[in-house]
Symmetry: C2
Subunit: 421 residues, 2 copies
């Protein structure tokens, strides 16, 4: 959002159109720095911008990555000249077969499995790395249970930075391997994700050269999710969809897609047409859906128990802001069972050839439930955000799918299987 700014930075810091950090709660502003909580009220800090004139043509002439939106992000204008993973500009797929299955008229799937490490985390990490470089950090770090670990380790390797990635020691072997291969400092911690997260916050305070992307540079990192919204609008031909369904973990992504849509309208890059934002959670970790349904403003933390591990944040920091977004736009937050998540994964795969991780199953299944319960308008154009890849969560589907048959090598046996012989 364009904002007037009363704090001028005096450092040589170049974070493009970013001008200050502003508290979401009390509005207190501070100069751009590696801060994430308001000193006045402990509210979360957010990047405040002063955008110049930005045209569609400028963006369209830019790099084929999120850096085409660099003038809308807290990064320097020459950001793409530094080695990075160049994420983004993933496919927006017209999903007619899924639309028919769900009974909606016009449906699109934003397929973020095409990113370098196959999740949307490459977007936020790329922005965090660019900002961290400007802020003087030299080590890229995170606590993570999977997708973020992959993205941080890969981005650091590509940039020639050291990385420190903290994971719970109980993490699945596949997620460990896909992080370890990049050869940063991957450290397994005996404890659950909350323990790992606390440790990260402690280390961030001790090591002033370590940028924990989702802790001490979180305000910058979070802005990377806006690119999902920008891309959807550009790929629709510079217009906003009527409805968008977004998975909710911390809730940050949903609020940033909302922010992106508003910014595009305010900047005159799209018509500011009305849109509705919907949040998707797994029932086994649905504190935001619970608050939405009961009409409350406070999120009651839960202990996660779901196969959708990448969404399993029991105390989502941006939960209240998710409620703001969905209520303001006349959307909703809904949740689905693990069985529905698996069916969501399978439905998307068999109709559109896209294999999503469990979070994608949550999104598809939630869209289905929202339609069945009359909350989502089947006649309005709808976009589903698919944010991660099924190859990373094979465990979730392994008991449900397999070959149709195992046969001897004969054509007659094949015909028999297909009921054609």
């Amino acid at each position: 959002m364009t904002s007037s700014v009363d704090v001028q930075t005096t450092t040589p810091l170049d974070l493009g159109p970013a001008r200050a950090l502003s508290c979401r709660e009390c509005g207190h502003r501070i100069p751009l720095a590696a801060e994430f909580a308001c000193a006045e009220c402990f509210g979360p800090l957010e990047v405040a911008y002063e955008f110049g004139t930005i045209t569609r043509a400028d963006i369209e002439a830019g790099p084929k990555s999120i850096w085409r939106y660099r003038n809308l992000l807290p990064v320097p204008a020459d950001v793409d000249s530094y080695p990075n993973t160049d994420p983004g500009l993933t496919r927006l797929v017209k999903a007619d077969r899924l639309a028919a299955a769900l009974g909606v008229r016009s449906l699109w799937v934003k397929d973020d499995t095409g990113n370098p490490t196959h999740s949307f985390k490459d977007r936020v990490v790329a922005v965090a790395l660019a900002a961290a470089r400007q802020l003087g950090f030299t080590v890229l770090a995170c606590p993570s249970t999977g997708n973020l670990a992959n993205a941080v380790a890969a981005a650091a390797a590509r940039a020639g930075w050291e990385s420190v990635v903290l994971i719970p020691s109980s993490l699945e072997r596949a997620k460990i391997l896909t992080t370890a291969v990049y050869d940063g400092a991957l450290i397994a911690v005996d404890g659950n994700y909350d323990d790992v997260n606390r440790l990260a916050t402690e280390l961030a305070a001790e090591h002033e050269d370590w940028a924990f992307v989702n802790v001490n540079v979180r305000p910058y990192y979070a802005e990377g999710s806006k690119t999902l919204g920008y891309e959807v609008a550009e790929q629709l031909g510079w217009r906003l969809p009527g409805q968008v369904v977004v998975p909710v973990a911390s809730g940050s992504q949903l609020t940033k897609v909302d922010k992106a849509f508003r910014e595009l309208g305010e900047l005159g890059l799209v018509e500011p047409t009305p849109y509705r934002v919907f949040g998707a959670q797994a029932t086994g970790c649905s504190p935001v859906a619970a608050a939405f349904k009961s009409g409350e403003d406070v999120i009651r933390p839960v202990k996660p128990d779901t196969i959708a591990r990448s969404l399993a944040i029991g105390a989502p920091a941006d939960g209240p802001y998710v409620l703001d977004s969905v209520r303001r736009t006349n959307g909703a937050v809904e949740d689905v069972t693990d069985a529905e998540v698996v069916e969501g994964i399978r439905l998307l795969a068999r109709t559109e050839g896209i294999f999503a991780e469990t979070a994608g199953g949550v999104t598809v299944a939630t869209a289905k439930k929202l339609i069945e319960t009359g909350q989502l308008d089947p006649d309005a154009e709808t976009v589903l955000l698919i944010t991660g890849d099924g190859l990373k969560t094979l465990d979730a589907v392994q008991d449900h799918i397999g070959p149709r048959a195992t046969i001897p090598p004969s054509a007659a046996a094949v015909r028999e299987v297909l009921n054609r012989g």
Copy 2:
């Protein structure tokens, strides 16, 4: 290659600039059809074209997928209006850190892990599907050991076609799951890949509505690999690299990249500067490297024994044409051990943040060996083709990588691991 054509098709078949099938051995031409072997000499059939005027601007204004090259492929002009996976236009990454590690001056990595099912097979399958639709097929099929199975099942799902995918029953569970999820007819066959392949050929002869992409529509399918060459040239700013290293399985991909480079020169889309083509094999399945090194023209089949399963074709159909390409361009074919393959995967991951499957490890390790043995010029601009994703071949690296340590949740323990406390 532009060719004059003496056979006119009389059917309504629209395969764009394709005009005939031509035998690579005897030059015999037949009308466009679902044929793959020459009736005169049993040589392989290849698509012959009559290209119109094609400009860089036309291509650059096209879709952000392989379909920007539709006027160079055996597909109709409106190919992208049919539901398909829209593969291609993957990243060409300037690999300065890998270049430094290998001791070369200018190095690029073509990262085809960004395709919809994370391998180059999405390219060939998309072209096969488009041609199969024109040729009147209604079922998409293949024998496969992995990447092709994923790509066929996903493409068929997206298009709303039935699919029949035949795999050896011994295939790894991960590769089975990533195919089964698309819900086509996945059939496990008790036997090795050769048995599966023979069964596919038998079934193709029996079912005139089944397009086995790599059997009865192979001439069209194989053309899809040209798009790798087109993209490299376009992404370099419309010029050819001095050297390219390509993994060799059947050998088709290498010959098609060579063909793409020649076509671009002949059509005036790039300066026809000299380039050298290098082939990469795993020592455990290196019949083409063996023939190259011994100066022979005949490929002696081998029984594959390597972790690079996606390259494990013991009797590569296009092996002789690989020899033609590398000899004509002053290139070479080299091979590397499985230990070198693993080190190649790790080297690419830690320098560039790209996690390749074993075939990518073969390419990187072969490039290293070609440099060390003076076969590849370290001063010439070089492109490495990375054709598949490490997430699909985790088994190959699992005994070699892991967390640096497992610790209790304390900052002191982290410091100790990093030798900083």
